[in-house]
Structure formats: structure tokens, C-alpha cells
Symmetry: C2
Subunit: 359 residues, 2 copies
């Protein structure tokens, strides 16, 4: 980690106990894929998300039954709850009345006079409003003006609704300008960040299934976070939302701005590799799944980069033929047989995690 | 795609028929995980890599038997072959004699006077040399000087060996300064790019298994490519190297600098989604695996962003309840039942691919 990234200082907002913006760490959020009207399934999914490290959760509110379910859901979860609202401002008001910590509105499908009614309600309950612009649902006049969902069109949409909220005296605001096209998204957030100091929620929208979503989100958010832009992130994955959390923390870890969970360094097993490194990596990943302590774990197949990487890690194995050298805090501590790699590594990891907890 | 990235113009080198640097497209490469001495297995893996879109392939050459196998391998494959050499300069000379298109040497483990012998041989056969610096195997004096494998230490290692090659009259050179730490890697390549105009081979080394490797590679390479830095890339995945190719093209597609293969836009299925989008996405991905034509395919779960995204794609589905609207080139063309989504999409894709081939 060489660069100390200078994060842009934004105005803080508070979602329940979680601060977003200001000097707060970049918060990781996700959205449920369950039917919100099914309280039990939704709460179950949110708890799994919490366990994985999700810090803010959003649920879709497509109708009044879903809006009514929010107070039940809210009561059973520990992290701030956001209602995702489209088309119908009344659902926003009901959601706020049911105690959500924030709402997301889409200026592409809620008109100005309806937004004003939402603001009134949000102000009275202290709810945060996110103006969530999306390239897939931009206002028709902006699409016409810009010839399509360009970065400037996204920014104009956000700023226009922002002016409505500010005029109405609302200041608990987050902004997002998501697009499925990574370069459009990057340009839009850069432009927006230059024009406001409200906290920004970053996302590449409709990013696809896990590997594609990881690539697109990592590039888009990676470029912005590296420039100091972004206060909260949501990775969109077509699939189990729990997988979004792992990708989100991998991004923040790689950029060096949050240390959460193990960072596994493992080589791509070339023709020099004399141990079953793929199986070792899979096994170690499985055994460390859910671990929140940050440790750098190196799993290396040969003597070229093995000792160097293992020495830089908190704990590591540099494999030889049928055996490996176990490293801890930069020092080779002993030779271990291949079949004992996992046990030996986990024993060291357990003791390091225990040590850190004692501090 | 909004930004036209201005790529830094580097000196071109030629690996067989493949140009790297200059105005050539960013080339995608990989490395085999087979035992190079096993010619059959190695050739089989290289052919799978070729089929997936790999444009340059590297193999480990740990001993003389592996070096001897190279001419047999070279004869049976279509893409340029690179020998990966550590410790023993004689293996580099044998590899060059056996007809490889290029070699990669690691200045961390081959001394200057040995490098000079390699250069002599490479010059006589027109082979390209990559100076492949790796944070895991840096020269001891540089580790001492910089207190560890910092970005400046990586760059100094590369420049020091570069001077040796230049003094010996070699100019078919590529450079790389890989690290497993993403920010170190980004800073090292930025610094190196400012100091030389040789083509750069980008990589985040020891990046881990697929999702972590996708995240780290996408951030590191994404930031650099977006700045115009990088002439060829290799994604390192602990696992099947064929998976590296998909990630590499996903990065280049997202940055907008190469159009290769389908770009699948699909939403993360929130509580609004009334179709089985996860299954649809999986099925479409499977059916389009191996497709090289670039098409934007949108698979959208609801009416919020569905029509907008589908209209921006070459072909798309915007799902409703049990049915969806099929879009082609920006226009809704007809309503389709959910069980016919895949057939209808693939028929449109087939006809679009056929049309493009005719041009």
C-alpha cells in the first residue's frame, strides 16, 4: 500500500447509526432480491447480508403491501434500512412513516411536485433522501437534449432534483449517477463530484453476473475511489446479493482504504508449481469465509516469488515439492508437509486473530 | 462509451505476427499451468486458450527438458510463444534456439553478465525480451535500499536491466513491474511509463482466485489503461488459465478499448423482478460462451430501467410478469413469453452476428 488516497471531504449524513460522507469509512451496501412483501424471507436475507459485512441495506417498495412490511422488517434487523421508490411518491411517504432510515428516489420517474411532498415527510422524520439517477431511466427531456444517457445528462438530472430538495430546505442528501457503461459512470461521478459536496453513492448498474460485475464495478469504483471520490458503494450482481459484499470489500481492500477480511495472495500455478495450489487456495478460502479480521495470506507455488510474497504477508506458504515453508510475519518459521498446509496455516491464522482481538 | 482514451504511443515490438505497442490493440496474453515437459497437455491447453481469444502465450521453462519441448510446442500452436525464465540463463538461450518468439527474464534472479549472453542470442534470432520485474523476487540490494518492494524499487530494477539491454544493442524489449499489491503496481507502472517508451506488459501478480483476481486486475489495469498506459495485459488467476481470457476482455470492453465478445447487461434482481432473471442470465451466458462478436445484450427484470437499458443495447429483454418485451437496435419489436426468452434472444443474436459477418 503506497498511496495514501486523499478522500474528498463531503457533508456527512446519518442513516440511523451509520455515517456516510464526512470522514466516515466508505460504507458497503447491498439490496435484497427477495419479495419485500415476504417479511420472513427478506429479514433472512438481510441477516445473511449483515453477517457478510453489509452496512446498509435497501429493499424494493413496488406497492403498498411492501411499504407496510417495512416496519416489521426494520424491527428485525440491525443495519439501516433504505426504501427504493419508483413512480409513486405515496409509497415513499408510507415508507418514511414506517420508520426507514432513508429512501432512494429516481428523478426519472417522480415529478418535481411529488418530490416536494416526499421532502416534507422526510424532513419531519429525519430520513435521508438519495437522488438515485440511473442511465436506464433518465428524464425524457434530458435524453432528448443530450441525444442519449450521457454523463452530462446523468449529472444534470441529479443537479436538477438536488435544487428541488435544497429549495425545500432538505439537506440530508446522497447522490448517485449510475450507468451500466463504465466510462459513462466514471465521467458522470467525476463531474458530479466537482459540482457538489454531498456524499456520493457509487455504483455500476446492471453489471451482470459475478465475474463481469466484479470487473465493471472494480474498474468504475476503483478509478473513482483512487481519486478520492465516493462515500458508499454498492456492487450490483445478478445472483445472490451476499456475493456483492465480498466484491465490495475486495475493491476497498485493493485500493487500500478499508481493511476487512483476509487478502489472499496466490499465484496462477504455472509449470513450475509442484503442489496442488488450486485446491489449497479453494480450501483456505472456504475455511476463511466470513472472517472479518484483515490478514494477508500468501499461498505460493514455487521458489521464484514464493518466499518474497510469503515474507510480505502476515502468514504464508511457499511451496516446494511435496512440502512448503511456513512464513509468519516475514520470517520462515518451519517446513511443513503438503498435506499439513491447511492445518498449519489455519493454526497460525487463528492465533493471529486471537492476538489482535486481545489488543 | 464516452471517453476516447488517448493511449500512450510506445515503440512497437513484434512477437511473430503479433505487434505489441505502437498503435496495436492491447494484446491479451496468458500462461499455461501445465508441466511444460508434457507437450501434449501443454499444446491442448494452449489451443483452448487460443480458442478463448488468447493472443500470446507464455510457458514456464524450469529445466532443460522443458526447454527442449519448446520447438515441439511451437510447431503445434498458432499464437506467439514466450519462454518464462528464472535463475538459469542457459535455459533462455536454449529456448531462443528452439524458436520461441520471446522470452521473459526476471532481473531479480539473473545477473548482469548472464543477461548479456541472453541478449546476444536473442539479437541473433530476433526474439523479444521482456524484463519482467516482480515484487516477490526483487534484487536484494533494491529491497534494502527501499526498505521493501516499493513502486520505486520495482521501477529501478526494470530501468537497471533496461540499461544493460540497451548498452548491448537490444531494442526488442517489453517491460513489466508487477506486484500483488494493486496500489504499488499502479504507481510503479505510472512511474515507469513516464520514464520510457518501451511497450508495457501490465499485470497484478498473484491475484488469487477468479473473483479476487478479477477485482484486483480490473482496478490495477483499469486505472492504467484509462490513463492510456499498457500495451499487453495478463490477468493472473489461481485456476484454469482459460478463465483469465474472459476477465481480460471484460476489462478491455469496460474501458472501451477493445470490442470482443458479448457484453451482458443484467440487473441484480431486486424485489421488483417478476421473471427468473438469474436463470435467464446464466443460460444466455452459457449459450454465448465463446462468441467473439461484440454485441451488447440487455437482460432486465422490470420496467424501471429495463426499457431504457434494452433500448441502448443491440438486443435485449425487458421483463414483466411472465412475459417480456424484446428489443432490437433500440426498438421494442415484440412481446415474448418468459419460456421463450432464450430462444427469441438467440435467434436475434444469430441473425445479427450473421449480418455483421456479411459486411
Amino acid at each position: 500500500m503506497e498511496t495514501s488516497i486523499k478522500r474528498k471531504r463531503t457533508r456527512p449524513v446519518f442513516l440511523g447509526g451509520v455515517q456516510v460522507g464526512g470522514n466516515a469509512p466508505v460504507a458497503v451496501q447491498s439490496m435484497t432480491s427477495t419479495d419485500t412483501r415476504n417479511v420472513r424471507a427478506t429479514v433472512r436475507q438481510i441477516r445473511k447480508l449483515e453477517e457478510a459485512g453489509c452496512e446498509i441495506v435497501r429493499v424494493a417498495v413496488p406497492d403498498r403491501v411492501a411499504a407496510a412490511a417495512l416496519s416489521d422488517i426494520k424491527r428485525q434487523i440491525a443495519i439501516p434500512l433504505i426504501a427504493d421508490i419508483h413512480f409513486n411518491y405515496r409509497l415513499a411517504i408510507e415508507a418514511i412513516g414506517n420508520g426507514v432510515d432513508g429512501i432512494r428516489i429516481n428523478p426519472g420517474n417522480i415529478a418535481k411536485e411529488k418530490i416536494l411532498k416526499i421532502v416534507e415527510s422526510a424532513k419531519s422524520r429525519g430520513s435521508v433522501i438519495r437522488i438515485g439517477v440511473n442511465a436506464g431511466s433518465l428524464e425524457k427531456d434530458l435524453l432528448k437534449k443530450y441525444g442519449g444517457p450521457s454523463s452530462s445528462a446523468l449529472v444534470e438530472s441529479a443537479l436538477r432534483s438536488l435544487a428541488v430538495l435544497e429549495d425545500a430546505g432538505c439537506d440530508s442528501i446522497k447522490l448517485s449517477v449510475k450507468a451500466s457503461d463504465v466510462t459513462t459512470m466514471v465521467e458522470a461521478y467525476r463531474e458530479l463530484s466537482g459540482k457538489t459536496d454531498y456524499p456520493l453513492h457509487l455504483g455500476v448498474t446492471e453489471a451482470g453476473s459475478i465475474v463481469n460485475a466484479a470487473v465493471k464495478s472494480a474498474i468504475g469504483m476503483g478509478i473513482l475511489l483512487y481519486e478520492g471520490i465516493g462515500d458508499t458503494i454498492r456492487v450490483s450482481v445478478t445472483g445472490d446479493p451476499v456475493s456483492e459484499i465480498g466484491v465490495a470489500y475486495a475493491i476497498l481492500r485493493a485500493i487500500g482504504i478499508r481493511k476487512f477480511g483476509p487478502d489472499i495472495i496466490s499465484c496462477p500455478t504455472c509449470g513450475r508449481c509442484e503442489i496442488n495450489l488450486f485446491r489449497l487456495t479453494q480450501e483456505v478460502e472456504e475455511r476463511l469465509a466470513g472472517m472479518k479480521t484483515h490478514l494477508k495470506v500468501a499461498l505460493m507455488g514455487c521458489v521464484v516469488n514464493g518466499p518474497g510474497e510469503a515474507a510480505e504477508a502476515d502468514v504464508g506458504i511457499a511451496g516446494g515439492k511435496g512440502y512448503g515453508l511456513l512464513f509468519k510475519k516475514g520470517k520462515a518459521i518451519r517446513k511443513v508437509k503438503e498435506k499439513e498446509f491447511v492445518t498449519a496455516l489455519l493454526a497460525e491464522i487463528d492465533s493471529m486473530v486471537a492476538e489482535r482481538k486481545e489488543i
